[in-house]
């Protein structure tokens, strides 16, 4: 079994790379420390996305973020997908690769959604085995993101945070902690988001996502199509105090605003934590 153990690298503050910003990024070389790409968008042979990515990756570190691994599915791992991912990583040379702790496809059908796992011993064993297989197949460490959810299965035997803590204990896997997703799930399931964040070992956090959502009062939907709202900023700052420097990025998936707007939001993110992380003497990047 592959064991990948190492210091986590602090890349600074990044943005999700979106096609509507390609040209402006090349022309203006904005003050962004790194970009995260959606892996599946580049699983094509050529064309404009590749043309721009080649130019952008010459100037910025790149992280790959996938949505289709379906690591939690009871179906055998999709080796065709993993082959594509491996080839992509060889071409792009990302700092790391992430996907989601969920299932997306079952019975040959792809939901194109990040469907939640029941938090059971069976799920833990299944994920532990699959994570090990995927890392062996890819020959590298994978990072996994917490998903937002709108339901709790009656079958769940533990909380999501205890589940994740158990998972990293068993696999040594690292997490991409989406602070917005924690907030969304906390509202939808009425739990304390800081209890969630504090339970998961801090040295297992490789990256942070910040994003927005839509609040319907009775529930919150994780849309990633709005500016980051105050409650998510508050949670991020509180978490950052305890976490120390972790590579942080803004993930905007819909209603994409002009690049300038995201750069302002990214500067705000940096301001939120620079004093905290400087105090700890570890804020060396940027």
């Amino acid at each position: 079994m592959l064991k990948v153990v190492g210091m986590k690298e602090f890349l600074g503050f990044g943005l999700g790379l979106r096609s509507s910003h390609f040209e402006e990024i090349i022309q203006t070389k904005p003050d962004v420390d790194w970009f995260e790409i959606i892996s599946e968008n580049y699983m094509v042979e050529g064309g404009k996305p590749w043309y721009y990515l080649e130019k952008i990756r010459a100037d910025y570190p790149i992280v790959m973020h996938g949505v289709s691994m379906s690591i939690g599915s009871v179906e055998p791992l999709n080796l065709e997908y993993l082959d594509k991912l491996k080839l992509l990583a060889k071409k792009i040379e990302p700092k790391w690769i992430s996907d989601h702790l969920c299932f997306t496809s079952v019975g040959g059908i792809n939901s194109h959604d990040l469907l939640p796992m029941p938090y059971t011993e069976e799920s833990l064993q299944h994920l532990t085995s699959n994570i090990s297989q995927v890392q062996d197949y890819l020959g590298r460490e994978m990072i996994f993101e917490n998903v937002s959810s709108y339901l709790t299965y009656k079958e769940s035997e533990m909380s999501e945070w205890d589940f994740l803590a158990q998972l990293t204990k068993r696999t040594s896997c690292k997490f991409l902690m989406d602070v917005n997703n924690v907030y969304v799930s906390a509202r939808n399931h009425n739990f304390d988001p800081m209890l969630y964040l504090n339970t998961i070992p801090k040295d297992s956090i490789q990256q942070i996502h910040l994003a927005g959502h839509q609040d319907f009062g009775t529930h919150v939907i994780d849309t990633h199509d709005q500016d980051i709202p105050d409650p998510v900023w508050d949670l991020f700052r509180e978490y950052a105090k305890q976490l120390g420097p972790v590579s942080t990025m803004i993930e905007r998936d819909g209603n994409i605003p002009p690049l300038e707007s995201l750069l302002n939001e990214l500067a705000f993110a940096k301001n939120q934590v620079s004093d905290l992380w400087l105090e700890q003497g570890e804020f060396k990047h940027g």
């Binding site: 064309g47 043309y51 792809n110 709790t152 939808n188």
Partner: protein
Amino acid sequence: MANLASIQNEFMNLLQNKPSDLEQHVAQQGQLNALERLSIYTSAYRIRLTQVIEQDHEQLGKYLGDDLFDLMVKGYLKKYPSTNNSLREFTQDLPQFLSDETPFKKHLILADIAIFERLLLRAFDAADDLILTAEQLEALEQTDWPLLVLNLHSSVQLIKFNTSAVESYQALKSGVTPPIAEVDKSRFWLIWRTPNKVTEYKTLNEEEFNLLNLIIKKQNFSTLCQSLIKSHQHDTIAAILIQYINTWLALGLLKQL
């Protein structure tokens, strides 16, 4: 208690609007009941896939109008749920669906517009082949020409329509009324991605369409010349073919030998 496999299967059944007992596995929490919680997922599934069809088949959507588009989406989601990791491939069976299903199959132009929009996507994502230049061809020895096999750039797509599919696509994109669907003779179309990464299309005459198809079939220069014998004087054929090749070079249709 249900196991992991059972829960996952029930979830996929629910999304596809098949009988599912997932509701029985959802805990009661807060202000939303189990059905309301599940509807968040079913709505997201339907909306996400509908958006893909809207985005990849924008002009087809305009041609159909809202009611028929909704009917098409509902039928397509049921008959062809996504089986690919990439949403780029989700509408790959849409032309077949439109050819098979009532009321769409009565109108051949619908499948043709869907095919055309799929080919635009295919050209957009095709491999970045190196383009053949006139200088590279000029460097060939005279004796190499008869057996010369040209190669088309990976983005090149050729399609023959017996409807006004592309003319209608153009009209809808420009915001004008499309022409009648029926046409008196076949239309031949070339779709490709230019060297500056822009997807283009143009009409071809039947002769040029056939020549490009021969190139796809890996036929050599002599065979291409022979295909022109019936329609041209013998001593003009090589010059005509060279003229075509110069046009293809200028458009970036040929990849390096």
